[in-house]
């Protein structure tokens, strides 16, 4: 096996990096892939709770780097999927506890025995971000349809290009189709035009994400969740399947809007 190493990053905090990492990991594992998720947010560990594996941590990433544990010992096996693993972040240390070369070494070791390594990056553009992208083959940039998140995504794309890590692939998360339709939320086409980057996925705002996170069961495991479906589509695209993007811009509703307009008699 020669794993692909994907870094999930965003610049801005709170756009859904950790949720995306957990769900893409789950969705790839559902396709029979062997996946290792690494939480590289040292000191602000969260991927463990989102994946529902927080009670099984013995060793963490810093233990591996500092030689207290072997890589294998730090890999927590998921309870639902046989080929999904988590390497948690240390909670009591900071970003300086690991270096970009540590990440390269760990990922090189993992490449031999897995299909995918997913690295959850911390927010920001400092040391933690450098650590997270050091071993990356492809960056997945998560953004939301709002000015601050898009601006920070642009900054990250610029930094990735400067590090010769390629332009990355974009996930637009928390899209509210009714707001896009009304002209109160940036549309997918606008964001893609501004950022000039390839699209990997469109994830709608979906309360099932909150509920599934409450329970520690990523939404990708829920066949009825719309966001879960979006993440399963993303996993399919990563596997090379030509899965079409759903329209979350309300453009399907043109006829509906026309009907409403006619009903109103064209008045305001």
């Amino acid at each position: 096996m020669t794993a692909k190493v994907l870094t999930v990053t965003s610049g801005k905090g709170g756009v859904g990096k950790t949720t995306a990492t957990a769900n893409i990991g789950v969705a790839l594992a559902l396709l029979g892939q062997k996946v290792v998720c690494i939480d590289s947010d040292i000191g602000l560990r969260n991927l463990d709770v989102v994946m529902g594996l927080e009670n099984r941590i013995v060793y963490d990433l810093v233990d591996v780097v500092e030689g207290r544990a072997r890589l294998r010992q730090s890999m927590i096996k998921d309870k639902r999927l046989p080929e999904l693993y988590l390497i948690p972040a240390a909670q009591t240390r900071d970003k300086t506890a690991i270096s970009p070369s540590d990440m390269v070494r760990i990922c090189d070791e993992l490449r031999e025995e897995t299909d995918w390594v997913l690295i959850d990056s911390p927010a920001g553009i400092e040391r933690g971000f450098r650590n997270a992208i050091a071993a990356s083959d492809t960056a997945i940039i998560v953004t939301n349809p709002e000015v601050s998140a898009v601006r920070d995504a642009d900054r990250i794309i610029g930094l990735l290009e400067a590090e010769e890590k390629g332009p990355g692939k974009l996930i637009i998360n928390r899209i509210k189709p009714e707001l896009v339709e009304r002209g109160d939320m940036l549309a997918t086409a606008d964001i893609l035009e501004i950022l000039a980057v390839d699209l990997l996925g469109l994830v709608p705002e979906d309360e099932s994400v909150l509920i599934s996170t409450n329970r520690g069961n990523p939404a990708a495991l829920d066949s009825k969740s719309k966001a879960g479906q979006a993440y399963r589509d993303i996993a399919g695209r990563l596997m090379g399947e030509p899965i079409p993007f759903p329209s979350l811009d309300g453009t399907d509703n043109l006829r509906k809007r026309l009907a409403r307009l006619m009903h109103r008699g064209g008045g305001s």
Partner: protein
Amino acid sequence: MSGLWDRLTGHGERSSARTAKDRLIVVLSHDRSEIEPGILEKIKDEIIRVISEHIDVDPSTVQIRLFSEGREQHLRADVPLRPPSRRRRTF
């Protein structure tokens, strides 16, 4: 008619998404080029000064701005010349 079109497409003049996009385009052109907006004003003043030594221009019509083509950045200066009739009258 444009009002009707805007309502159909959901992209009316006053749409906040449109404002967001326009603001992002400007702010990102500055972020990407690492040129603060105030620097452009200085460049503009100097361009006007240099051109005015040779050609009669109206400073209020000069525009200088950054724009993107894909992820490539350009600096565009637009210096309208005074119409010939007005130019003749000035001389």
